[in-house]
């Protein structure tokens, strides 16, 4: 049976996809290339990975509020994440998710989500279901 994690609904909507999980906070301005969706922040544990089509899981955002617009651009260009899961929602990421219409849940212990796992996010109910661990 799938494990269901209960968090807080932030932005409504549902999405299913592969989890991209970071232990570090993320700044969309300067940290993610708005054209390609590749994480460019030097030394970040997701440096070089793409946010396109994934369920993006990270503790919380940091950095400039322009980051909200970067998230919007990524989604508009089709290289953005399908959903966002945070431990603690911060205004930059929340505003970005709201204007881009990306389902978002927070207050989730993301240490319980393995990078590469198949997960289902329900931004209306505030849940994250782990459907399948990373294929080995």
């Amino acid at each position: 049976m799938a494990v269901e994690l209960k968090g807080r609904p932030v932005v409504p909507g549902e999405a299913r996809g592969v989890a991209l999980v970071s232990k570090q906070s993320l700044s969309f301005l300067g940290g993610v290339d708005p054209e390609s969706g590749i994480i460019t922040e030097r030394g970040h544990d997701l440096e070089g990975r793409r946010v396109e089509g994934v369920i993006l899981c990270f503790p919380h955002g940091h950095g400039s509020t322009v980051g909200s617009y970067v998230l919007y651009s990524l989604v508009k260009r089709g290289v953005g994440p399908k959903a966002i899961v945070n431990m603690r929602a911060d205004p930059v990421v929340v505003v970005g998710a709201v204007i881009a219409g990306v389902p978002m849940v927070d207050q989730i212990d993301i240490d319980l989500i393995e990078d590469g796992a198949l997960v289902e996010v329900d931004g209306t109910k505030g849940t994250v279901k782990i459907l399948r661990e990373k294929p080995r």
Binding site: P34, S64, T65, V66, Y69, V94, I99
Partner: protein
């Protein structure tokens, strides 16, 4: 969070996508931070203007808002941009950057937002004490709350824009009296001489306060100019939106003492360069009329050195009112630039490697944002360095 019938209708999309999106942003932030309702704001000040700082991403969102008919409902102003179109000789910015910068400014204009292009909108219209605002630009936020006694949260670009479109903001944080109270008493031991030392105090306090509201004692009759530098620097190293100051605080608070050595260390650390500067920059935050007058007076009959750029940055509004002093500065070989500043423009592309400034905020940011070496020094020393003997 309580919403009126009208606010609910906007949230449901009756007024179109632009207002619906703006309302969603306000409601979501309100819920996140425990607001009870939306309150009207007197004005909005929006950051996210310089193409150098923000790149291409925001323009796409702003364009959609314009297309959907979004227009500001309250007096709204914007932060500085990447260049001064009337000084392109002094700022030879590539055509493509200028085009993209103009596009961003035009999008704001279409939303009926005034292209003030300044970080000191309070010199254009001084908000009344007790009025509620939705301002971005951290230095203006601290100044509004602490010096002008207006009430504003430290908004980001998008949330200030949302507040401009709706004319309201959620009533959390700085909009509540209990959150504006001092939590730590900061006793300033040395007598601060001039705005640069106030800036150094701000950098130091921002680092040690960890977001708590300070009550500064020992500031001997500070000018508004001093307090501007204190607040701008405080907001750079701390997440502060407000400071208090005066004689002894009535309540027993945790005490921090700032000694002369602490500030000396800050000034040393913010001076990363040992070379002579190729630019001397004043006007972070943008100069007041009084500051421009002071700079003109300090220059006197001297000329700016060959090979040194002297930049004095302000708003068009203030420049227009400071004409006589602007002429004196320009006759000496300096430049009084509007709409922009050294930090939000392409400094390296202009050939600048070492920047001297009286602004602790600039000295804090320029090495990272502009990749230049910095020297932090008092105003008179900056002018002496810029001018021939």
């Amino acid at each position: 969070m309580y919403l009126t019938k009208e606010e609910e209708r906007i949230l449901e999309g009756e007024m179109g996508w632009a207002y619906q999106t703006a309302m969603k942003v306000l409601v979501k932030l309100g819920e996140l931070f425990g607001a009870t309702r939306l309150i009207p704001v007197r004005s909005a000040h929006i950051s996210g203007v310089s193409y150098k700082t923000i790149g291409d991403a925001p323009a796409e969102f702003l364009e959609e808002i314009v297309k959907a008919g979004g227009v500001a409902q309250v007096e709204s102003t914007i932060n500085p941009a990447g260049f001064d179109p009337e000084h392109v000789d002094e700022m030879p910015i590539p055509e493509e950057f200028r085009f993209k910068q103009s596009r961003i400014i035009n999008l704001y204009k279409k939303m009926k937002i005034e292209p003030t292009l300044t970080c000191t909108p309070y010199y254009i219209r001084r908000p009344e004490a007790g009025s509620h605002l939705a301002w971005a630009e951290s230095s203006a936020v601290v100044y509004a709350n602490s010096v002008l006694k207006a009430w504003t949260n430290r908004e980001g670009g998008p949330s200030a824009l949302a507040a401009a479109l709706i004319g309201k903001t959620p009533d959390y944080g700085m909009h509540r009296a209990e959150n504006r109270q001092a939590e730590v008493s900061v006793k300033v031991e040395p007598e601060l001489k001039g705005e640069m030392e106030f800036g150094a105090l701000g950098i130091y306090a921002g680092n040690v306060l960890k977001g708590r509201v300070p009550y500064f004692t020992g500031l001997r009759s500070p000018t508004e100019r001093d307090l501007k530098q204190l607040g701008a620097a405080l907001a750079s190293t701390g997440m502060n939106s407000i400071f208090q100051y005066g004689a002894e605080h009535k309540k027993e608070l945790e005490k921090i003492t700032v000694e002369e050595a602490d500030l000396k260390k800050v000034v040393e650390e913010l001076s990363t360069a040992s070379e002579e500067p190729d630019m001397v920059f004043m006007g972070c935050p943008h100069c007041s009329l009084e500051e421009i007058k002071n700079i003109a007076r300090l220059i006197g009959k001297r000329k700016v050195k060959e090979g040194v750029k002297l930049w004095v940055c302000t708003s068009r509004y203030v420049r227009e009112r400071a004409k006589a002093y602007v002429r004196m500065i320009e006759a000496a070989g300096g430049h009084v630039l509007c709409d922009t500043c050294a930090v939000v423009t392409w400094l390296r592309e202009l050939g600048v490697e070492t920047l001297m400034t009286n602004s602790a905020k600039t000295a804090y940011y320029a090495p990272v944002l502009n990749k230049v070496g910095t020297i932090l020094a008092p105003t008179s020393k900056c002018i002496d360095m810029a001018c021939e003997l």
